[in-house]
């Protein structure tokens, strides 16, 4: 067996499927994108090479920066709101035991099972100013004005809440499995030593969860940057460009404005940002490990 694995051809043949898929499905499209990003291609017909013009335009494109800001805002929202809540919920779920544990685990995961289109429309109706659920609840508590949740100013926060709520189940489930993998002996030892629930959580659960947190946070940031479908269906970036997100803006440029070249330039910047974010996160977590 060992001999077999030292044969270069065997190694090659085992790695090849993965590498080929990666090259064909990821690397080649990125290279093509880079190439098209240097042209004024409209998506059909002929096109000409315009150098870095698209990138120059991009630098002064306020909508692009706004959508980048929104995407980063979402990433911050994920890390600061969604994930702390997810960890705590996971820890509490773990303590619950029995039927309640399974029940709540299911309940929290339901939003992830429902199709994105339904989620978007569900929230559209909840937010509707005239007959929406939210305003009707507020009315019961005596609010008079009809709040326009998806209107100018409020829209971005309303959208963030939906996205944070929607992604919550995934994050929680991964943390939950992480916690389940922690040896119960450690908790028993802590209990014998008289550690409170709070100390157990802070001193045992959290430190042992570090690798899980690392993976989860990286995933969250990338999914924040990639966010597209919910926003597309909920507001499509509106009103104005207030709830525009990077991926949605890219789509709009490439397919609605027929600026395929420009869309590709955005996608290249997009890839670079995602890579930088991943590298930066790995660095941060690596430093913590050595510290």
């Amino acid at each position: 067996m060992k001999k077999l694995y030292s044969n270069k051809w065997v190694i090659f043949s085992l790695v090849a499927p993965g590498i080929i898929t990666f090259i064909c499905a990821i690397l080649a499209p990125i290279c093509l994108s880079f190439y098209y990003g240097l042209t004024d291609f409209s998506g059909m017909g002929s096109f000409s090479f315009i150098g870095l013009e698209n990138y120059k335009v991009l630098m002064t494109d306020t909508s692009f920066w706004l959508s980048l800001r929104n995407s980063l805002l979402l990433a911050v929202g994920f890390i600061c709101i969604q994930h702390p809540l997810a960890i705590i919920t996971a820890a509490v779920l773990d303590r619950l035991q029995g039927k309640a544990e399974g029940f709540f685990r299911c309940v929290y995961f339901i939003p992830n099972v429902i199709s994105v289109a339904i989620i978007a429309y569900l929230w559209k109706f909840i937010y509707n100013p005239s007959f929406g659920l939210l305003n009707n609840i507020l009315k019961i508590f005596g609010a008079k004005a009809e709040v326009n949740w998806l209107g100018s100013g409020l829209a971005i926060w309303s959208v963030l809440i939906v996205l944070i709520w929607h992604g919550f189940g995934w994050g929680m489930l991964i943390y939950y499995t992480g916690i389940k993998n922690i040896d119960t002996v450690i908790y028993e030892a802590a209990a014998i030593d008289g550690a409170s629930a709070k100390t157990t959580f802070l001193r045992i659960t959290l430190p042992l969860m570090k690798p899980v947190i690392q993976v989860n946070v990286t995933l969250a940031i990338i999914s924040a940057l990639k966010q597209m479908e919910t926003v597309y269906l909920l507001t499509n970036g509106g009103p104005g460009n207030e709830t525009q997100f990077l991926a949605n803006y890219l789509y709009k440029q490439a397919f609605n404005s027929f600026k395929y070249g420009y869309g590709n330039a955005i996608s290249i910047v997009f890839v670079v940002i995602c890579l930088l974010a991943t590298v930066a996160l790995n660095k941060i977590f690596a430093e913590q490990k050595t510290a």
Binding site: M44, P129, L150, G151, A155, P239
Partner: protein
């Protein structure tokens, strides 16, 4: 030995079964070869009502009359359609008969990419297309498609609500704005508006430009070509739209209300008016529309603006959706034959009118029965009595990029992110 026998047996069964397979296949392809398949790419997803029904009925009739033709329809909603259209355009598998919009923002790029087959203009002389209706589908004097209908923008209103409250159909824009306050006091939404799709807002301004200037087609076209929107009427139109927002003419949150929700507000009797195109005239016969609304449907055109040169008969109308034939189609002749069949006056024009779906871009006066629905009569009156027609709306006069920017701008205007002056500056910038 046993093993060998078994494997031999297996091989034998495999060979025979494979032979069976190939035999079946070859006979299949032989029968297909005799048939010509025309692939249709449509934006009419609902094949049971409205324009989709008319389209499907014509296809079915055609196949019945021409048994050698087989028609395959792929239908997607507008936005998805445009995306997939582009995917088709970059590949080589463009369907044969396509839905197309006779507007520069959609068509010019497609024509320039050489994707559409040229049609013989003279062969449509006796099809009764109304004057100017083929312009949108022409480029440099060549014809590339046929329009399906004449679209007119107007207000649908609920006659019953109006009568019960003693409201009168406004004859001036000021009256319309004054009405907004009165209707709001009654706890009803004055006018339902689809602001999420943005183009109704653009068309509202377009409509007002016609009311301010009268004949405005040439002026708008020149403005887009010269990237010059300095004429004061433009700012005025934008300001008038903003005024309508400020007096609360539209429902709360209209800027994020989508097409369906806006329509339902009106169809469920929660809104007194609904600003939308003539393609919604089938509301009068649609069972899904509240009976009270369905039977009390009235229509009036955008009222005149005080001090404007235009009359109520200077209307915002154009010939939008239609069909084109793929230039690279392998069955081009058969497809053009199908297209011609569809637009013989006794087909599309007649069916569309009789079903109360829309007004065709052809002269349909021969099919008037007198039993038309109220909106049908009203729209016919509006078109017949018109003194000028705007043609393609300004947001569709430029490139597709201009369309995106101008429609986004309309939304920014109504939420106050752009002033009327800044809006037109942005438009001029986008035209360059």
């Amino acid at each position: 030995m046993k093993k060998k026998l078994l494997s031999l047996l297996l091989v034998a069964t495999m060979v025979t079964s494979l032979a069976g397979c190939s035999g079946a296949k070859s006979s299949d392809s032989a029968s297909v070869e005799e048939k010509v398949t025309i692939r249709v790419f449509s934006n009419q997803t609902d094949r049971k009502t409205g324009q989709g029904l008319i389209e499907q009925t014509l296809f079915d009739n055609y196949v019945k009359e021409n048994p050698n033709i087989n028609i395959e329809v792929e239908a997607l909603d507008d936005e998805a359609y445009k995306t997939k259209f582009k995917a088709y355009a970059t590949g080589n598998a463009m369907p044969d008969l396509l839905n197309a919009w006779g507007q520069p923002s959609f068509l010019n790029e497609v024509i320039d990419a050489g994707l559409l087959a040229e049609l013989d203009k003279s062969s449509y002389d006796d099809y009764g297309f109304i004057e100017g209706s083929l312009d949108g589908f022409s480029r440099d004097g060549k014809l590339y498609g046929l329009p399906r209908n004449t679209d007119v923008m107007a207000f649908y209103y609920n006659k019953k609500i109006f009568e019960e409250n003693g409201w009168k159909v406004p004859t001036t824009y000021a009256e319309l704005l004054a009405l907004a306050e009165t209707i709001n006091e009654a706890g009803i939404v004055p006018c339902s508006m689809d602001g999420s799709d943005k183009w109704p807002l653009s068309i509202w301004m377009h409509d007002l430009i016609a009311k301010i200037n009268g004949e405005s087609k040439a002026m708008l076209e020149a403005s887009v070509t010269n990237a010059d929107f300095s004429d004061p009427s433009y700012v005025q139109a934008a300001q008038l739209l903003k005024d309508a927002v400020d007096v609360g003419l539209f429902q709360n949150g209209f800027e994020t209300t989508d097409y369906g929700t806006a329509r339902n507000l009106f169809a469920n009797g929660q809104a007194a008016m609904y600003y939308m195109g003539s393609w919604e005239m089938s509301m009068a016969t649609n069972e899904d529309v509240l009976e009270d609304v369905r039977n009390n449907l009235g229509v009036f055109a955008m009222p005149v603006v005080e001090g404007g040169q235009g009359a109520a008969t200077d209307i915002a109308a154009w010939n939008g959706g239609g069909y084109a034939v793929s230039a690279n189609s392998e069955v081009k002749e058969e497809t053009i034959a199908l297209l011609n069949y569809m637009f013989q006056p006794e087909n599309w024009s007649k069916l569309a009118w009789e079903n109360g779906v829309c007004m065709s871009a052809q002269d349909y006066s021969a099919y008037l029965t007198g039993d038309e629905t109220e909106p049908q009569k009203a729209f016919t009156d509006i078109v017949v009595g018109s003194t000028s027609i705007t043609g393609v709306t300004f947001n569709d006069l430029g490139t597709s990029e201009f369309k995106t920017i101008s429609e986004d701008g309309s939304q920014q205007l109504v939420i106050g992110a752009l002033t009327p002056e800044k809006f037109w500056e942005t438009m001029a910038e986008a035209c360059k």
